[in-house]
């Protein structure tokens, strides 16, 4: 484990809220988010920014390559070093980690991280097609596939092995949508208002790919967010409530989930083979199989080691998980070590991950309700965690905001492909 050279913190986030459609185009949306950041950090001057780390996923959705150049130019930051990070859904988390590496190693002191995605220029079926081209286009895409189907099939396998039910997936959907109504920037709130939903609404929601219903799936969004990250020497200039990065971890897994039956690099988890019920043929690599997310498992291990965490459930106050489909949330409870393998269902049944529970997950509502403009997604949820650790949720979201009292330490994940890439960051306040 490399020893950090110096401490690095998130100093604030500016938001251009996610919604199904915006009249503004991407550069105007990013500029609006940057304005918001400048308001949050009034001392921030363009000269303070050493480099720009840009987070956006698709070149297809807008038929624009090198969109990052437009953004840097539009913000008037085109004399700075600029980097684009792209790793599917993991893009914004990856951008944060890459910015962290560059600051921590001493190359730069202050990095601006703008993230955005404009996903609604083509019809939804075509957006799905363009996103699915992040899957293996020779092998997985041609078979009627897209991510809803891949993830549904993975959840079916997990469900068969460990016995969670559709109702468990429904409970997660209800929790997240209702959390989302407390976020005044939420896409769900913009389209459906603040009325809470129930399991009844969940059962009525249209089946997309069994077992996933509409309410289990990430939404399509347009939106932008700008994060400011700085080295400890500069932090005080921008904020009184820095959110320190105390652990980071990245992990990857096979491109095709179907290859995970013989996933040689994960042969180290074979001890867990006993979990397999009698009727299932045990694959050569019992973990992650085609059910769990090994990339996140190793990413979390790396981040926990750096942050000195041994019992994440006890030692972390709240989590923002990247869950494009609700089964991912259930699996991640296990992969992140909040519970044993196959026990994810109890986390939701026993209310452990609800507001007021031992470890609330997705108080933001997350990707299925509040919004998922890919390149901005994790930056929004990092901003929400920043408000949590700064104790500013009610200030930013109003009196209904779900502030976790005295929150000190939080975790966020990123997640690309079918878990082909994943990452974890641990945040702490002073």
């Amino acid at each position: 484990m490399p020893k950090p050279n110096r401490r690095v913190a998130i100093c604030g986030g500016g938001i251009f809220r996610p919604d199904l459609w915006h009249g503004e185009n991407a550069e105007e949306g990013v500029a609006t988010a940057y304005q918001d950041l400048l308001r949050q950090c009034p001392n921030l001057e363009p000269d303070d920014i050493d480099a720009v780390m840009m987070s956006y996923f698709s070149d297809h959705l807008n038929q624009q390559l090198c969109m990052g150049w437009i953004i840097q130019d539009y913000l008037g930051l085109h004399n700075k070093p600029g980097y684009r990070v792209e790793s599917g859904g993991s893009t914004p988390l990856d951008a944060l980690i890459n910015a962290y590496y560059l600051i921590q190693s001493g190359f730069f002191d202050v990095i601006l991280i703008p993230g955005w995605e404009w996903m609604c220029e083509v019809d939804v079926a075509s957006t799905n097609e363009m996103i699915a081209s992040a899957a293996d286009t020779d092998w997985d895409f041609p078979v009627g596939g897209y991510y809803n189907a891949y993830y549904a099939a993975m959840e079916v396998r997990h469900m068969q092995l460990y016995g969670e039910t559709c109702e468990d997936l429904g409970r997660i959907a209800v929790k997240n949508h209702n959390n989302s109504t407390h976020i005044p920037f939420s896409q769900w709130l913009s389209q459906h208002g603040t009325a809470p939903i129930t399991l009844e609404d969940y059962w009525k929601s249209r089946l997309v790919c069994w077992p996933y219903r509409v309410l289990n799936n990430a939404v399509m969004s347009e939106g932008a967010c700008c994060i400011l990250m700085a080295a400890e020497e500069k932090v005080n200039r921008f904020t009184d409530t820095p959110m320190w990065i105390t652990g980071v971890g990245l992990g990857t897994d096979s491109m095709r989930p179907g290859d995970r039956t013989v996933d040689f690099v994960y042969a180290g988890f074979k001890d867990e083979a006993k979990i397999y019920p009698d009727f299932v043929k045990i694959p050569k690599t019992p973990y992650p199989d085609m059910a769990n997310f090994a990339s996140l498992h190793v990413a979390a291990k790396r981040a926990y080691a750096q942050a000195g965490i041994t019992n994440p459930l006890k030692e972390i106050d709240l989590m923002e998980l990247f869950t494009p489909y609700d089964g991912v949330e259930l699996c991640l409870y296990e992969d992140l070590g909040l519970c044993g393998r196959g026990e994810g269902k109890y986390m939701i049944r026993e209310g452990i991950v609800e507001y007021g529970g031992e470890c609330p997950v997705l108080l933001s509502g997350g990707l299925t309700s509040t919004g998922h403009p890919v390149g901005a997604t994790t930056l929004y949820y990092t901003t929400f965690l920043y408000w949590q650790l700064a104790g500013k949720v009610k200030e930013m979201c109003g009196p209904d905001g779900l502030q976790v009292p005295n929150a000190k330490r939080a975790l966020i994940t990123g997640h690309g492909g079918t878990g082909c890439q994943g990452g974890v960051i641990i945040f702490e306040r002073d």
Binding site: V143, A152, V156, W210, P277
Partner: protein, 271 residues
């Protein structure tokens, strides 16, 4: 609109005017060429877009930063939204695993076997990914596989990406072909009420003349006729779920019939 049509016709002519096709591999013999005629037909069509603006709308909508409430309180602005189209035809090589896809054309299933660790790959890998084998060559070590396997996992789709929408509803899944260590994605021509993990399937091929050389050339069918799913099968063990899947697939059938005039019902398709 008429004027626009005329312009598009001219541009299409520019595109399709007979000239020798680019041959990036013109120095190498095309042992089989089922491409040139198709190319002449499709190349102009995929370029119908031509980056032309096909139309526009003026949309009055919310703008600016802040919360949903703040945005919706502002006087809306008028945004011009243009419709712009473009695309291209890709000539993509299947590389060293090309024999697999030629095998599909012949109705044959093959995998590669690592000469070092013995892992059998289907989907085939040209090089072994076992780190111990240091990307050992597998591409000259093909094994014939039987047209049979077991379902590793599956889903029932009532929604699909654009190219597959007209086929809805359908099931796709991953099948471990007998003798292979990895699993292959394919369509499952099996009704939801019979689908379960661990189910034995046979792999069948489309009629020879309609095979194209991708995984859509094959599909799985139940190996055992009218097999009753075991009591632990996750889809059928909850009758409420099964009913919801049946209702959703019915609604999807209706939707596809109305939208495309295609009848995908089990009575017509046979599954």
């Amino acid at each position: 609109m008429e004027e626009e049509k005329g312009l598009t016709e001219i541009k299409l002519k520019v595109r399709s005017v007979k000239r020798e096709r680019e041959r990036k591999y013109r120095d190498y013999p095309a042992v089989v060429d089922k491409s040139t005629a198709a190319h002449d037909f499709w190349e102009p069509i995929v370029h119908l877009g031509l980056w032309d603006i096909k139309g526009h709308q003026i949309v009055k909508g919310p703008w600016g930063g802040g919360t949903v409430e703040q945005a919706k309180k502002r006087a809306p602005k008028e945004f011009m939204v243009i419709d712009r189209a473009s695309f291209a035809l890709y000539s993509h090589s299947y590389g060293l695993v090309s024999p697999f896809f030629r095998g599909l054309l012949e109705g044959k299933l093959m995998g590669t076997k690592c000469p070092k660790c013995g892992t059998v790959y289907c989907p085939p890998r040209a090089h072994c990914w076992n780190p111990q084998c240091k990307v050992a060559d597998c591409f000259d070590n093909w094994v014939d596989l039987p047209s049979a396997g077991i379902i590793h996992t599956f889903t029932v789709q009532c929604l699909a990406a654009a190219p597959f929408e007209h086929m809805l509803p359908f099931s796709m899944g991953w099948v471990q072909v007998d003798g292979a260590d990895t699993t292959l994605s394919m369509l499952l021509h099996i009704r939801p009420k019979e689908l379960f993990i661990g189910k034995k399937v046979n792999i069948e091929f489309m009629p020879k003349e309609s095979r194209k050389g991708d995984l859509m050339d094959l599909y799985a069918v139940a190996a055992i006729q009218d097999e009753k799913p075991p009591e632990w099968a996750c889809l059928q063990k909850d009758p409420k779920e099964m009913e919801s899947v049946e209702n959703s697939t019915k609604a999807t059938l209706e939707f596809i019939k109305n939208r495309y005039g295609i009848d995908n019902s089990p009575e017509t398709r046979g599954w």
